[in-house]
């Protein structure tokens, strides 16, 4: 799996000036996400400024940067938690201007959160079912009156939920309360829940935070597996460099709200600006 990823990463790179950070595999492929001159100001502070990024179908991209660089803010802009003060976000070619979180989600964005946001008091299966909310439907009165459609759709939801949980071998936990799961399982459940919404772009906010090296490695394989199985694009924020360098086909480095570098893992690692801003310090600390 990771071999395949590496091979893709080593193909011809688009120039840095372009918005795309992953080498074009299919020139006609419509981008899933386009961020154009995206920016937001909080009372005069430019948290994100002139952020340009294009992600095509089935690409895995990484967003890295020191603490407070504005990575999560970018996620919040893409998912419409914040309305950008500058620029635009296009999802599957559609401008998201003026949309709310729900509308953006229906366009095909799903995300996980840096500090896990599960529905703690509900079971694991119910959490996944929430993700299926707009996929497998029946109306409220069908549910209240228990019409035949209710049973049919409930069965469908149940089967689909277990199918999705199978990605991380979590079917056995289906009846557990989500809040009582161990940390790593909660992170995985968040990914499953996001996948349940049938997205075309999956945003992962520090998926490996709090995981041990073994779990991280497993997660890395799973991310590539998810991409292949669901044919979706993935953008992830991560501090664990082994994961970012291992799985991301293109990497975008953010510092003080601005993009300072874009490229493949090798290019980013060799980029002096990045080393100065981020990797250099990290390497000293680790060595």
């Amino acid at each position: 799996m990771s071999q395949q990823v590496k091979r893709r990463a080593n193909t011809k790179m688009v120039p840095l000036q372009s918005d795309a950070i992953v080498p074009e595999r299919d020139i006609n492929k419509a981008p899933v996400l386009e961020a154009r001159h995206l920016g937001i100001e909080f009372g005069g502070l430019k948290a994100v400024d002139d952020f340009n990024l294009t992600i095509g179908k089935t690409e895995i991209a990484g967003l890295i940067g020191p603490n407070g660089a504005g990575k999560t803010t970018v996620f919040n802009l893409i998912t419409k938690v914040y309305e950008p003060t500058m620029g635009a976000v296009l999802i599957n070619g559609r401008d998201t201007h003026g949309m709310n979180i729900v509308q953006a989600s229906k366009l095909g964005i799903a995300r996980t959160f840096q500090n896990i946001r599960l529905f703690d008091q509900m079971t694991v299966e119910e959490n996944v079912r929430i993700g299926l909310h707009n996929q497998i439907k029946y109306n409220m009165f069908t549910g209240m009156l228990r019409l035949p459609a209710y049973w049919k759709q409930e069965k469908k939801q149940h089967d689909r939920a277990l199918e999705l949980l199978h990605i991380f071998d979590m079917e056995k936990l289906a009846d557990e309360q989500a809040g009582s799961l161990p940390y790593g399982a909660q992170r995985r459940l968040e990914i499953v829940r996001a996948l349940a919404t049938n997205p075309s772009l999956l945003l992962l906010d520090e998926p490996a935070a709090g995981m041990n090296p073994h779990e991280t490695e497993e997660l890395m394989e799973n991310i590539a597996k998810i991409r292949d199985q669901f044919q979706i694009a993935i953008l992830l924020i991560e501090h664990d460099m082994s994961l970012v360098m291992g799985v991301c086909e293109g990497i975008c480095v953010l510092n003080f709200g601005k993009i300072i570098a874009k490229g493949t893992a090798d290019e980013i690692q060799a980029n002096p600006v990045v080393i100065e801003a981020y990797l250099g310090k990290k390497k000293e600390g680790q060595a």
Binding site: V81, A110, E125, N134, A194
Partner: protein, 356 residues
């Protein structure tokens, strides 16, 4: 069937069974005339308070919003019910009491539901405790408004007047300002109350265990996450709030038609808090708990009438004790240990079949 599903099914069956059993026992007591007069007089109010508690639980326990004006919806139901019943009797000469009662209850529910929706539309879009503030004000506004509301029926049509009593001669007054709804013919029956409880349980339990109910619970647990999963939070909070308001209106109509007068001071802020106490005592999100606590807390004050001076004091102490008991891990584990032999007994019996 999965474990969670089975637990839920057992819980629902126990809830229904308990209510039906209580009804049958009470009915047989009525038939044998072994029931005390004071308890018999309490039967319909108990039904009303159960419906109130279960419906408020839908707002507080399931959708996670705080509503402090549930008595306001009850009062709307009570007044609407009284007016509709009086109107049907005076204008259309509908003598069938059951028909009048049912129509009054439906009208009360619809009216309260509409007002609930009107309040919910602006308020439920906001985050935080705004609903508590607005519903608190709503309860008081309704109380003040009906104080100066006059509704009468003459020549077969309803006449409304506001602030001043401006009615032609020979009008039969249905709502007479500060005197409240007057000259109501009490037509509520325990059986209708019981059916209303069953309907409430059916609606609330089925709603909780459906796609919409899951979405409502999700908005309670984490609003942002629910939104990013594509769940329209306001819509589902509206569903929960409007349903609860309509049920409260139905309970109000039943309550209003149980006595000969309904006065505005019956539905004060204190009553809303009373219902809130039922819900908290029964457990947030626990429908069966609401049913039991509403029953006990309605019956107890009557039983302890001799100590009525200390009633509020005892009430406060009980509430504090409940909070300590349910939140203290030490006491909780102690209680669990106390009950564990019984639990184990049950588990053995149940699993014996599975293993063999």
């Amino acid at each position: 069937m999965t474990k969670a599903k089975r637990n839920r099914l057992i819980y629902n069956i126990v809830t229904y069974a308990l209510v039906i059993a209580a009804f049958l026992i009470l009915q047989s007591m009525i038939a044998n005339k072994t029931i005390t007069r004071s308890l018999k007089g309490q039967l319909v109010p108990i039904c009303c308070w159960i419906v109130m508690a279960v419906s408020l639980n839908l707002v507080i326990g399931i959708s996670g919003e705080l509503s402090l004006g549930h008595a306001g919806f009850m009062s709307i139901g009570a007044y609407t019910g009284a007016v509709v019943s009086g109107w049907l009797l005076n204008a259309f000469a509908v003598e069938n009491t059951l028909l009048r009662l049912v129509l009054a209850i439906i009208a009360g529910g619809v009216m309260a539901g509409i007002l609930g929706a009107l309040i919910g539309i602006p308020v439920l879009r906001l985050r935080g405790d705004y609903l508590a503030i607005v519903t608190l004000a709503f309860g008081e506004i309704i109380r003040s408004l009906v104080n100066v509301l006059y509704i009468g029926v003459s020549d077969g049509r309803l006449r409304f007047s506001f602030l001043t009593k401006d009615m032609p001669e020979g009008t039969v007054m249905l709502v007479d300002g500060a005197k409240g709804a007057v000259k109501i013919k009490p037509i509520s029956t325990f059986t209708v109350g019981f059916v209303l409880i069953l309907i409430t349980l059916f609606v609330v339990l089925n709603l909780i265990n459906s796609r919409a109910g899951c979405a409502i619970k999700a908005t309670r647990d984490n609003r942002i996450a629910a939104e990013s999963m594509g769940i329209p939070v306001t819509k589902y909070k509206m569903i929960a709030f409007t349903t609860a308001a309509a049920l409260a209106g139905m309970a109000g109509a039943l309550y209003g038609l149980n006595s000969s007068t309904v006065v505005p001071t019956q539905f004060t802020f204190n009553q809303s808090i009373n219902v809130l106490v039922f819900v908290v005592l029964g457990g947030l999100g626990n429908v069966l708990g609401s049913v039991i606590s509403a029953t006990l807390l309605t019956v107890l004050p009557e039983v302890l009438r001799a100590f009525s001076d200390y009633r509020m004091l005892a009430y406060a102490i009980v509430l504090i004790l409940v909070m300590i008991f349910t939140n203290n891990p030490l006491i909780r584990s102690f209680v669990n240990r106390l009950f564990s032999p019984i639990k184990r007994l049950f588990r053995k019996n149940k699993q014996g079949g599975d293993i063999a």
